[in-house]
């Protein structure tokens, strides 16, 4: 089992490096994109070392491609393991998705069909990844824009079985639940009630954008009211979790993200969220 950690954090982004290194930012942990630091040396690795000296760090990946039908990239796993050994992170996470097939890498989090065959494949890949990391990982639910038919189970049932078979934990992205529910017409509360709550170790909160046809997980907006409501719904059902605000584009000044994190703290303390 993955040791729980209770706290509130932010994603480490370049515009905020100096504040994280030169001041004591009011966070309990920071999350970094693993691939940004899976380089051989130079300033990125020095920054990460210095950040790690000041804050607990979670490693969040986007390129493991756990759903690849032709298996995982061994060189990628080795490089990530080296980073894990150096950082000793709170968590190592990646997504329930795929991006690479037969030497082609889309650099996008592509959806999987929720079939028994896909579950077998992802379980086998995740077993290999966890063996390579020497630890259990957290798997994040994706935002999806395609609902492949026919399916043998819902996404939350897929995650439940994945956790049971591999011993992994969950990184619950509440915004992704909202986006996928809107795009595919399912009830987000059914999703949040259906996941294995005891497996959730981390929560992502983010914003999205309305595309021409579907909601898109852009991470370029503040956390919207419906996502806060879902967070308030699910949080009492969970044990100790690490909550963070995830912003990847249109990155605002740090104090704005800290204000959003304050809202998360308020909700976690049992308060009612102030009007946006």
């Amino acid at each position: 089992m993955i040791a729980p950690f209770s706290g509130f954090g932010l994603g480490l982004r370049k515009p905020h490096y100096a504040e994280f290194l030169e001041t004591r930012v009011a966070v309990d942990f920071v999350e970094v994109i693993s691939e940004n630091f899976m380089v051989e040396g130079g300033r990125p690795r020095r920054i990460l070392r210095e950040v790690r000296e000041r804050y607990p760090v979670a490693l969040h990946g986007v390129s493991m491609s756990l759903g690849s039908a032709d298996g995982l990239d061994g060189a990628y796993l080795a490089r990530l393991r080296a980073l894990v050994d150096e950082v000793d992170p709170l968590f190592v996470s990646d997504h329930l998705s795929w991006s690479r097939i037969e030497g082609f890498n889309s650099h996008d989090l592509l959806p999987l069909p929720y079939t028994n065959a896909a579950l077998d494949l992802v379980c086998a890949n995740l077993d290999r990844a966890q063996d390579a990391m020497g630890r259990a990982m957290l798997i994040e639910n994706p935002s999806t824009y395609i609902d492949f038919a026919p399916a043998d189970m819902t996404e939350w049932e897929f995650l439940d079985r994945l956790c049971a078979r591999t011993g992994c934990g969950l990184l619950l992205d509440v915004n992704n639940v909202f986006v996928s529910a809107s795009n595919h017409g399912f009830d987000p509360l059914a999703y949040l009630d259906g996941i294995p709550h005891v497996r959730v170790r981390q929560i992502h909160l983010a914003g999205h954008s309305q595309g021409s046809e579907l909601l898109i997980d852009t991470h370029d907006q503040p956390v919207p009211a419906p996502v806060w409501e879902l967070y308030a719904h699910v949080l009492p059902r969970l044990g100790s979790v690490a909550t963070m605000i995830e912003r990847d584009d249109a990155i605002p000044p740090l104090h704005e993200l800290l204000a959003e994190l304050g809202t998360a703290r308020h909700i976690a303390a049992g308060g009612v969220r102030a009007a946006a």
């Binding site: 130079g42 690795r45 039908a69 795929w98 082609f104 069909p113 065959a117 579907l214």
Partner: protein
Amino acid sequence: MSLLDLQRDMRAWLVDEDAVAANRLGGGDVAAGLRIHLNNFRAQLTACLEESFAQTRAWIGGDAFHHAVVTHVERVHPGSWTLDAYSRDFPATLKLLYPADPEIAELAWIEQALAEAFAGPDTEALTAAELHDVDWDNAVLRFTPTLDLTELTTNAPAIWSALAQGAEPPAVAMLSENGAILAWRDGEMPRFRAIDQIEHQALLRLRASLPFGGLCAGLVELLGEEAGVARAGAMLGQWLADALITSLGSGTRRNAPEQPLPPAQDA
């Protein structure tokens, strides 16, 4: 449909906008989602190239750069887990697109080499003060692994420097004789320097484990005793000052390089 077939069809959609593959994936039921993923795929690659080649873009203009990006996305499919790798072949695409304007690909090479050096392996540079009792005849110089070299035909380094400083760049000019450029990282700072063919060939041969004595012998043969030794010493001093040398090994002295060094431009 097997998962492997599904993923092959998704690749065909992203790379070629293959309508038959899109139909197999679900046709109209998945069309909106497929369009989002196609946009994501292209936007990621475009952003990667725009961020990696800001000065090249400034030099050729946004429209020409966009055309080059579209050509590159059609020509080169990403394969690595890191997007950083996708920009490696962009100078070659520019060379194909602009054969009569070699400074464009050379500008892009500078940007790519600086980016590679930025996150290359950490090493400690040797200093002149650490050089005691060196058997220079047999010394094999080990260079920083961030060092990269290529041939140079234009004043691209001057153009790049002006653009990077927001200054008016000089007009493009061909070098009177082809030279070379090296890029590396000094501490945390990526750097580059234009060099002549003698230094280019010297670096290539030293990196191939030619002992320093062999280089000196070649330079003496090329430039004469006094000038050859002086040139070898000057280059060694510059490499030490540039933090290019990380250690000294020992090898078997060879009297001369396997191929003669090029004629000196200013000898």
